[in-house]
């Protein structure tokens, strides 16, 4: 019987020749990732159930990346990183990216890929809902809680319900005014924040395979905003070139069976799409940028796992070059590698860093930052009733700080265009 990529990966990891949507199975996990927010609780649960001296199931397969609350004076936040550090030492874990060292990375989902922990055909679980980002590499990746993670730490296993797959096909080529963020916001706007609950979301078509790896990560990153269990893209040369440049570890590419069954299929033609935003207070509250153009803003934010990769900053810099921002604009690279590239990548001979500095933006260190509000002293946090346009992933009430703030989600192009005018602006009106 034919299977989708998601079904095949789950079958292979459960020791079965086939699985069907709706089936509950136990699977072997290839990589478990945790960070400073959920790590301490996960470690507590692991010790409670497996004993104070218990060892993790496979130390090569555990990856710990502090990234959320790093650049803050909050003492408990620092204490939580200490808990991670102690655990890593006690367990001799090789894959730890410690704060204050050369190994420090920043946002876990981007760091996982940069450090070669995302590989086709594998199962990656992480204590963060945006773990689904790694579906861009043709693997099954999803977010779990502390209890599930504590269980995996001790056993290397978890139970999963096999999701039916929804398939989203993009035909045509991406026009210069659109980004992956527009595509995923269009989908979420159409199917709603619960439109893919308990389902896999697969992205296919010329429009998807024409995207670079980072843009594919943006697509998969936001499937959770539609309730999706995982996002997935069939690996191609772009995937393999990236993965092989980051790791020597062997992996097995899994592809769809030609007659695999989909729960749902939707085909978009890229030439019919336009830049969109998600209005406050839900990622499915879609409007075209033209519809809300002119909305007054207090702040712009470019960063996070969704919108803080080098591709995102190149897009923003194309618009900001030689211009000044009219509102407070924050540039927060996802990882230290992205931060380095801000100095290396140039447009017409000028580095992105210089472009952002000359435009008057505030540039922060690599971290999750204000995407999820965080401690009160987080750079860029919305502490009052500000209106912000952001390249991040969620705009639920209070997501970026104050409950009285308002967040519009948009692509880096739209955010940059809006930063210059101080009001929501279509990037087509800016180039």
């Amino acid at each position: 019987m034919a299977m989708t990529i998601t079904e095949k990966i789950l079958a292979q990891h459960s020791g079965k020749s086939r699985v069907e949507p709706g089936e509950n199975i136990w699977v072997d996990v290839d990589v478990l990732m945790t960070h400073d927010v959920c790590g301490p609780g996960t470690i507590g649960i692991f010790k409670e159930h497996f004993g104070k001296t218990a060892k993790v199931w496979d130390k090569q397969k555990v990856v710990i990346i502090p990234d959320h609350y790093i650049f803050t004076a909050d003492e408990k936040a620092h204490r939580n990183v200490d808990i991670l550090r102690d655990f890593v030492k006690e367990q001799s874990l090789p894959n730890y990216y410690d704060v204050g060292t050369e190994k420090y990375k920043g946002v876990c989902h981007i760091a996982l890929a940069e450090e070669g922990h995302t590989r086709p055909g594998e199962i990656l679980l992480g204590t963060d809902s945006h773990t689904c980002t790694a579906g861009a590499f043709g693997e099954f990746a999803t977010g779990i809680g502390n209890t599930d993670a504590g269980f995996v730490l001790g056993t290397g296993k978890t139970w999963l319900k096999v999701p039916p797959t929804m398939r989203f096909v993009f035909e045509g080529k991406l026009p210069p005014y659109l980004m992956a963020k527009d595509l995923i916001l269009t989908i979420i706007g159409e199917i709603g924040v619960d439109g893919a609950t308990y389902r896999a979301m697969e992205f296919a078509g010329e429009g998807v395979h024409g995207l670079n790896i980072e843009e594919r990560m943006t697509l998969c990153n936001m499937v959770i905003e539609a309730g999706g269990k995982n996002g997935i893209i069939e690996p191609d040369k772009v995937t393999l070139d990236f993965v092989k440049s980051r790791t020597d570890k062997p992996f097995e590419v899994v592809k769809n069976d030609p007659d695999a069954k989909y729960f749902y299929e939707r085909v978009f033609d890229l030439k019919d799409l336009e830049p969109v935003v998600a209005k406050p207070h839900s990622p499915d509250n879609k409007a075209s940028v033209r519809e809300v153009a002119g909305t007054r803003l207090d702040r712009a934010y470019i960063g996070s796992c969704t919108g803080g990769k080098i591709t995102d900053f190149i897009a923003a810099a194309r618009i900001l070059k030689g211009r000044q921002v009219k509102i407070d604009t924050f540039v927060v690279p996802a990882t230290t590698e992205v931060a380095c590239k801000l100095n290396e990548v140039k447009i017409d001979g000028k580095s992105l860093m210089d472009i952002f500095k000359e435009a008057g933006t505030v540039i922060g260190p690599a971290t999750c930052g204000a995407c999820l509000g965080g401690p009160i002293d987080t750079l860029g946090r919305l502490n009052k009733s500000e209106v912000c346009i952001s390249t991040t992933n969620r705009n639920f009430p209070g997501r970026m700080g104050s409950k009285s703030s308002q967040v519009y989600l948009a692509s880096p192009l739209t955010v940059a265009a809006s930063a210059i005018s101080g009001k929501i602006t279509d990037p087509r009106d800016c180039v």
Binding site: A77, T127, S129, G145, T147, V193, G373, G374, P375, R394
Partner: protein, 187 residues
Amino acid sequence: MIKEKISGKAYILGDDIDTDQIIPAQYLTYNPANAEERKMFGKYALIGVPEGKQGLPGGRTPFVTDGAMQSEFKVVIGGKNFGCGSSREHAPLAIREAGVEIVIAEFYARIFFRNCVNGGYLIPYESKDRLSEIIKTGEEVEVDIKHNLLRNHTTGKVYELKPLGDILPIIEAGDVFKYAKKSGIIG
């Protein structure tokens, strides 16, 4: 063994109650593995729900009153897509620490649902009716787990809940660890 019945005052919420409303990110620095810090999640449970939506319809009934460590409400009833957003297990834990053992919604976001069950925090019932528009905050209700029913003692009406299905064995065992031991998956 799970209780046969859970009763107390109901607290009503709307659709798409996300984990940032259940426990905002600024409180996530407390470590749930620390007994004293764990209690703080009860104090701040549902503090992110905006005014106008707190306990609907007037929307100004806080779930936990200022200064209290637990809620006077015992059954939380939401609408669609309850618990969407982040994977933070602090969310079901916060509701549990506030003194609640049962939530009822039309349906749940996947990770929140798993966390409720695998961590043994809350019994996540699904309702057949849109109870968030039928029952009012403060009404005395009783959840009959044995028969999958919700009785509204204030109005005398009874509503069917969807059977717990696949998750019942884990709920009966207590959490995923106890379930895995019972079924021989771990030693």
